[in-house]
Symmetry: C2
Subunit: 368 residues, 2 copies
Amino acid sequence: MKITVSESDLVNAINTVYRAVPSKTTMNILKCILIDAAGQKITFIANDMELGIQTSIEGTIEEKGIVAVDADILSGIVRKLPDGDVLIETTDKSQVRIKCGSAKFEIGCNDGLEFTRLPEIEKNEGINVSEFTFREIINRTIFSISDNDSNKLMTGELLEIKDGNMRIVGLDGHRIAIRRTELNGSYSDRSVVIPGKTLGEVAKILPGDMDKQVSIFFTNKQVLFEFDETLVVSRLIDGEYFRIDQMLSDDYETKMTVNRQELQSCIDRALLLVREGDKKPVVFSVTPANVEIMISTDLGRMDENIVCNSEGREIMIGFNPKFLLDALRAIDDEEIDMYFVNPKAPCFIRNTEQTYNYVVLPVNFTTV
Amino acid sequence: MKITVSESDLVNAINTVYRAVPSKTTMNILKCILIDAAGQKITFIANDMELGIQTSIEGTIEEKGIVAVDADILSGIVRKLPDGDVLIETTDKSQVRIKCGSAKFEIGCNDGLEFTRLPEIEKNEGINVSEFTFREIINRTIFSISDNDSNKLMTGELLEIKDGNMRIVGLDGHRIAIRRTELNGSYSDRSVVIPGKTLGEVAKILPGDMDKQVSIFFTNKQVLFEFDETLVVSRLIDGEYFRIDQMLSDDYETKMTVNRQELQSCIDRALLLVREGDKKPVVFSVTPANVEIMISTDLGRMDENIVCNSEGREIMIGFNPKFLLDALRAIDDEEIDMYFVNPKAPCFIRNTEQTYNYVVLPVNFTTV
């Protein structure tokens, strides 16, 4: 193999696929990035067997071939090369030479044929959504999933197509984050649960262009994301997801409208008194024109009054401040509506169109 | 105690003294910041018994008093307060209230009288140097000291006043970093060894103003830095420092002039092939118009040619790439001069005025 590519294309391609390189594995070949210059384009692939990423760039192929190179070394080298054209060539079966300007590296490599490529996914009934929107709805829900493997479904997000809408849902048993976006075009209803890690990596490598689309294809076991010159393939999580709609309700006893940034800063301050692992709640006392926010922990007490506009019954209710803060940070609106039923029932932060709905379960509190 | 201060002054004062709060201690009072409003000004002090920092701000003192407050909690709270005036008052012997805007905190506190204040240092024969210069000469030498306590003197830096110059020296047995600056005014010769931690913290809190001076005072056991409204007191390291001047020499066999940035980027790349803990040298082969830089490790090989201008004998010499890189990063000059004697003798990177002199010991190498 002997190819010449631009340094910046090479860096982009390697940064993209690098996210599928496992950080820990005993299998050396999985620690590699495959460089495939056997066809017209130059393709890079990494695959940890659950998540695989492939991307292609243009370049000059003087001698066709494929080779697998240790991802850490390759990525380290290309990021520090001077600008300009990079020549990559195999010097023998186990050695690859990388030249750029006056710098010349020789590093070990593996036989490209040993590398496991991405599984073929049939491109049927693809769903198209703008790169920007898809990245946003992932980033604004994914913090709600669980990092605890004991319930596998909670470590993923539901991606649901229904009535021409795409909905993404993440939950961990204490809160739910839901984002909905209308799709252009008609699609048949379906739903899958995608590993959180996959969605997190997709959100990181998606360029986030408003005008460009990501296409999503499913099989029973796998999902494929296709955008620009990149393919991401991941297994799905088996099992039936939680019945979200049964947990949502439009009924409420108290509706409070409040400045999001003020509430967010206040809860951020309340968190100062919460030690890691401490479960002390922040308590809201909602009255018509004012919400008093209180916390009392071993470290001290805080209380603060914020102007609000509330209708319905007055209520006192306690929350895990971190969960509230996560939800508030995921919202851009200047004013938000919070809906309460009673101190034991979930609180909803949603807009009228319900393009977002953050559900936070309350916690018990003793009056401060 | 009852005082009102501006939020930004308070944040600055606490950030300044916070650097003397020990991260680990079993003595609760050492984890505190003393707020002293017994006099005209409001003074903040932290003291880990080796290093103490004190700073004062203006404010309204409604009720005089002193109180010691947990540094972590205090610092966390003030950094997240809204802008505006902050009221701090003791509500009883063990509680202090902090109010700003609509936010109100109540946290525990300790008796201010239990707090150990800074030792009094007699202000005799102070040395004045610009804040900017002093910060620079610390930052550009301190990386050379040792973090290993087995030789206490190597964990500090020599501060030497001689013939109207101030010289700061750091060394760890493998390299030496020296910076010299001319002082305004005449001072008697003397030298002390200051703990690296102290100098590091001073460099961090020094505003670095060109036009402002830091004054430095010594006793046999202690050093005092005074700038703006801030005092830093630290113990000195006992013992006689290494005889630096015996290690320095103006003789050389080879002098190489090279573009610093090019050399630095090249060695940065060479380091990619060096695993943590690996001791593989980078090898220079200096010829009249060209220096070839090579490294060979388990991960691979690199070689690169850089244009240089050298006089004297051709030489091959090996170095720990990290030590060379540290020295190059501490220099601003576009072109640097490197002086070699033989492959076993130290290499000097210095300018003609010798305001800087970086000495790096070579290491053995086998030809690549």
